[in-house]
Structures are given as structure tokens and as C-alpha cells.
């Protein structure tokens, strides 16, 4: 996204290129232009731009993409940690 870059080398996105069938869905759904299609194969062109929304993983028909997608806001993550440590009742998240 123009003008905005987040932390580098933290993203969990993985693409198994040998499983890819080159359908181009990941290119279509990614709002940060992380993927490029070349010679009937997708490849990760800009990993650090990924926000781990999980759209590519969800829409990949051959399950070639792996990413730890989920709640990404500070409040949501703090609540997750508190729930894991049984310090807070499960249920409530950030944008309810």
C-alpha cells in the first residue's frame, strides 16, 4: 500500500509453488499485490506487504497457501492472551 509499510520479516505467508495450478485467484483477492503470476505459477513478489488477512489461503482451490490469519489488532491479541491464561472470560473480541 502506497505510503504504508509495516514490520519486515515477520509475515507467516507460505506458498508451495509445486502445488500451484496458476489459476490466479490469489492475485485477484490480495489487496496488497503480494502475488505475481508468471509462467502459469504464482509466486510471492512482496511478502512484507502481506497483512495476513487469509483471503489467498481461503480462495486457493488446491490449498497451496499457508498463513496464520486471524485477529490482528492489539486489543484482540491482548484479549486472546488473557483468555489463554484464563485471566479473562472467552468470547468478547475487539470489534465484537
Amino acid at each position: 500500500m502506497k505510503g504504508f509499510r509495516y514490520l519486515r520479516n515477520v509475515v507467516t505467508l507460505e506458498l508451495r509453488e509445486n502445488a500451484c495450478i496458476g489459476c490466479g485467484r490469489c492475485v485477484e483477492v490480495c489487496p496488497h499485490q503480494v502475488f505475481r503470476l508468471a509462467q502459469q505459477k504464482a509466486r510471492i513478489a512482496d511478502r512484507d506487504a502481506c497483512m495476513e488477512c487469509g483471503a489467498c489461503k481461503r480462495n486457493c482451490p488446491v490449498a497451496a497457501i499457508e498463513v496464520d490469519a486471524g485477529v490482528g489488532c492489539a486489543t484482540g491479541l491482548i484479549n486472546e492472551w488473557l483468555q489463554e491464561r484464563k485471566l479473562r472470560a472467552p468470547g468478547g473480541s475487539c470489534c465484537s
Partner: protein, 318 residues
């Protein structure tokens, strides 16, 4: 249905932006007609948050389009897709419930790109026979998309986060921060007023509220111009500037050195916390990145607050 927004729609949107009745601001799910669509006209899918629905119907004014509204319980497309309510199951269910296959002759649905985290296009195809095309990110681009033979240009696929787009998010963040801020502010005021007099209480209160506003309002608005990728550091920098303002306005030269250091530690920590929270409003911060920031920032912020409190306490005895 109408494509022009009236005063009540605009008032409703304004209220939702300020968090008033935001969780009940919705329209019934189902199939709506914009203009007088025929069985050949396109089907656009959206969420039943009234602001989402209003944006889409307004953008499509003067056209003939079917609008399939999913039950997302009044949550916008992006957040509902993350939770899965704007998802494969609900889409398949809504296609079935509305009898869409009998209404239109084609088998193509146009979905917002930000709905993709919840919807598996290949599964929708398999279960309903409808093919999914992810159209644009913004509803505003839908007319241009339709006129471009339903092909999205790179600009229609690229996220933006303009000053205005950040500004509209600020009110609801302020409302969210209000309750803890009032509680903490009251405690700080009492502590300062009891130990150093009522006027000191008001100064402390003003300094604290300023630090919250620096983190909730100023840092998000200045986001792209503040240095570095870290939200916590961006917030801390604005908090630091605010600390300097306090020092100048409140005649900091006359303070004890412990008070000065405490102020320059605590206020940036408060701002940093609130700016870090703004990651929930952005569409470029990754879950792994926020995790990493939290692991570093929470001990740093907690440490700064603790040292600051110790310094203030020490100042009483020096």
C-alpha cells in the same frame, strides 16, 4: 429501492461513526433491486451493515443491478469476512433462501475484494453453481468496474488509507477510549490533588488527557509521516512532543527533576499504547507484526509507567 441517501441515512452514519447504536445499524438480509434489473443484470453482494449497504446503493444509482445482502449481523464486509459471517456458508444459504437461481439467468456473483478472507470462491461454485468474481475494494469503483466489462484495474484492487479515511475512524476510537480514560484520569487527579494540591491535580489530568489524544487522534492522522514502521514508536514520538509541550506550558523549569523524568516516561507510554491499538483500524498491519510489537512494547510501556510512578513517589522524599 432508492439510491439517494436522505438526511436520516446521513444522520445514522454519523451516529454509527460515534459509536451510537452502531451494533444495531443494519438492514434485513435478502435480495434487493436497484433500478429495474432484468434476469441478465449483474448481482452485487454486500453485508447488512447499513453503512455498507448505503455506500453500495448510492454508488450504483442510475443502474439496474441486483443487490444480495448477506446476514453479517450489522458488521461491515471486512470485519465480517474475518469472523466468517460474510462467508461461504452464509452466501450459499442466502442464494438458496432468495431463490437467486430462478431470478437471474447468469451464474456470476460480484463480491467486494475485502470479503475474500471469508469466502472460498471454488466452494461457492461447487455448492451453488454460481461463480464468484472479486470486483473492487471500494463500492465507489463499482460503476467504473461495470463499465470496464467487469475487469478491475490495478487501482480498483489497491488499498488506500488516506487522511480522510483515517479521520472517519477517529470518533469511534475516542468513544472506545473514553471509559478507561475517565477512570484513570479520576484516579490520577485524586492522587495528585491529595498530595500536591488541586491545581496540580488539574495539570496532571490535562497532561494525561493530552497523551491519550496524542495516541488516539494525532498519531493516527499523522501515521504515514511519523518515522518507522512501528505503531508504538509512532505513538511514543507524538507523546514525547506532547510531553515537551507540557514542560513548556506548565513551567517545567521549576519542577523537580524526578517529576520531569516521570512525565517524559509516562506520557509517551500512554500515547504509544493507544496508537498501537489503532492497528485494529488499519488494513496493512499483519497479525504477526502486531504480536511482535506487543511482545516488545508491553514490557517497555509497563516499565516506563512503573519507573515513572517510583520517581514521583521518590520526589516526595527528596
Amino acid at each position: 429501492m432508492a439510491t439517494k441517501l436522505h438526511f436520516a441515512d446521513r444522520l445514522g452514519a454519523w451516529k454509527a461513526r460515534w459509536g451510537i447504536g452502531r451494533m444495531t445499524y443494519l438492514v434485513p438480509a435478502g435480495l434487493y433491486a436497484i433500478g429495474t434489473p432484468t434476469p441478465d443484470d449483474p448481482v452485487v453482494v454486500t453485508a447488512n451493515y447499513k453503512m455498507s449497504y448505503d455506500l453500495v446503493r448510492q454508488a450504483l444509482a442510475g443502474r439496474n443491478v441486483w443487490l444480495l445482502v448477506l446476514e453479517t449481523f450489522g458488521i461491515n464486509v471486512w470485519c465480517a469476512a474475518g469472523k466468517g459471517t460474510f462467508g461461504t456458508d452464509e452466501l450459499a444459504r442466502r442464494i438458496e433462501a432468495t431463490g437467486l437461481a430462478q431470478v437471474v439467468s447468469h451464474r456470476r456473483l460480484l463480491l467486494p475484494i475485502l470479503g475474500a478472507p471469508g469466502v472460498a470462491a471454488h466452494e461457492v461454485q461447487r455448492r451453488t453453481g454460481f461463480g464468484v468474481s472479486y470486483a473492487t475494494i471500494r463500492a465507489n469503483d463499482l460503476p467504473a468496474f461495470l463499465d470496464n466489462s467487469m475487469v478491475a484495474t490495478p487501482a480498483m484492487r489497491e488499498l488506500t488509507f488516506t487522511f480522510r479515511e483515517r479521520l472517519v475512524l477517529v470518533p469511534v476510537e475516542m468513544v472506545g477510549a473514553l471509559q478507561p480514560t475517565v477512570v484513570v484520569g479520576a484516579v490520577l487527579f485524586l492522587l495528585a490533588a491529595l498530595t500536591a494540591g488541586v491545581s496540580a491535580g488539574f495539570w496532571v489530568l490535562a497532561a494525561y488527557f493530552g497523551a491519550v489524544l496524542a495516541g488516539v487522534v494525532v498519531a493516527p492522522l499523522l501515521l504515514p509521516w511519523l518515522p518507522g514502521p512501528s505503531f508504538a514508536i509512532k505513538g511514543a514520538l507524538v507523546g514525547l512532543v506532547w510531553s515537551a509541550c507540557c514542560y513548556l506550558f506548565a513551567n517545567g523549569a521549576g519542577w523537580h527533576v524526578t517529576t520531569t523524568v516521570a512525565l517524559f516516561l509516562a506520557l509517551p507510554a500512554v500515547s504509544a499504547f493507544y496508537t498501537l491499538n489503532f492497528t485494529g483500524c488499519t488494513t496493512f498491519s499483519s497479525r504477526s507484526g502486531v504480536k511482535k510489537e506487543l511482545r516488545l512494547a508491553i514490557p517497555a510501556m509497563g516499565g516506563a509507567i512503573a519507573v515513572s510512578a517510583l520517581l514521583v513517589a521518590a520526589g516526595w522524599f527528596l
